[in-house]
Amino acid sequence: MQPQKEKELFKELEKLRELNQRYIHYIRQKVNQLLEVMGTQPLRPEELDDEILLEFDPIGVVAGAFHQILEHLRETVQELKMARDELHAIFNATGVGISIIDTNFRIIRCNEKQRQMLVSEPSEDIRGRFCYEVYCYKDSPGLDCPAVETMATGKPVTLREVKKKDRFFQVVTTPLKASGEIRGVIEVLIDVTEKKKAEELMLRTEKLVSLGQMAAGIAHELNTPLGNILGYARLLEKDPSLSEKQAERVRIIAEQANRCSRIIKGLLDFARKPEYERVNAKCDLIEAINSALSLLKKEADKRQIEIIFENGELPSVRGHSREIEQVFVNIILNALQAIGRQGRVTIKGSVRENSAVVEISDTGPGIPKEIKDRVFDPFFTTKPPGEGTGLGLSISAGTMSRLGGGIEVENLKMGGAVFRLIFPLTGGSER
């Protein structure tokens, strides 16, 4: 080969080597950059020499790793989105009210139930507003506020009974912590109104049962001596040696003893245990109300009281007709007596999902708040002595609870009271 040509080739080779070095340097630099991203140190030339470096393809390896990392991230994001959607759905579907409140008592978020229970305007945007303003109608957090206590102590607080908007709630506050620090409070609201009502009803039933047992005992003991008084009075009444005045007095004795007997019979009715056949009998509610009305027509006319009956296609219910009729007589008579003279009694039937409801409302003075809890107690009466035994309503309440139904009373806004009789429907769910 010619020396000139050889020299040129060497030069060319030198140039290529230089270029190669630059490429290798660039590749090493980029590999190190990638390794740094992966959290490790740069490659030292003695670990992988240039030849093995290219053969090993570190950029390809890291690219493959990145591909898998991205794929995993995408899957994770997808799962997170699903979890978020699920959580959101649960948040809104749950039967309790949930609010998340920050340390400044601002509402960060609240669910649909909470809105329904406490926010007057359903469409109102309450995010960012003060919880005490929206939920408690105050201009600062109250001293008894469980959220205040939770924020101060970091511990959950339960308030058993809080009254808001005429309903009763149980409130539970739990701290919302992020890296050990309290970031806010989760407030859970449970509507316990129905539970409270059921508890009150149970208490009343228990009271009635024990009173009933006592009354039955006394009634039984009194029956025999009373029978003797009545018997001897009747015997004495026939004695011809009595003067007219004396005979009149004996008649009064007999009459009064008779009255005592009736009261005692009422007591025994009240305390009576349910009989199987009675519970299995059927009663047409419309018929029972009509027959009660025919009994009371004279009394209503005398008092100039109009009685309106909207039957609402009431069905038949489980129970003995005579007993149910007696309940209607008791309640309607009570309404007539409450009105006194001139007014109106409205009887309205309706059918709900599992029950038939009869509402009996009057235009009387309503029931004073202080005696509302006692109207179903035996012997409780506001009538003058001799006019009522105080057993009518308690017997009715006893009958209703035996039938598996209930009786409620409340005052109407426009005056007067309404008694609501609830009969369970056969075929519906039985408790």
């Binding site: 490790t40 490659l43 670990e47 390896v61 493959g64 990392i69 794929e71 995993h72």
Partner: protein, 80 residues
């Protein structure tokens, strides 16, 4: 449960970047079978740094990683 195939990578005496790169290369090569749970990769190393970098990367890819100290070295087990 069927028996898993074990792939052993012996990286004793090697330092981190190389350990990590080799581990990643093997993971890439077996990704399908790893995801299906058919194979498990065991990396043996005596370089402490690798017990941090390899689990970090493998977990970011969504794998389950267990590091165990055995006598004179560490075993990094990678599975789905």
């Amino acid at each position: 449960m069927k028996n898993k195939e074990m792939i052993d990578i012996d990286m004793l005496g090697q330092v981190c970047p190389a350990c990590l790169l080799v581990a990643l290369k093997v993971i890439n090569e077996h990704r399908e079978r790893l995801k299906k749970g058919e194979v498990e990769i065991v990396v043996r190393t005596d370089h402490r740094d690798a017990t941090r970098t390899i689990p970090q990367s493998a977990e970011a890819m969504g794998y389950r990683v267990v590091v165990e100290k055995v006598k004179t070295c560490y075993e990094i087990r990678i599975s789905s």
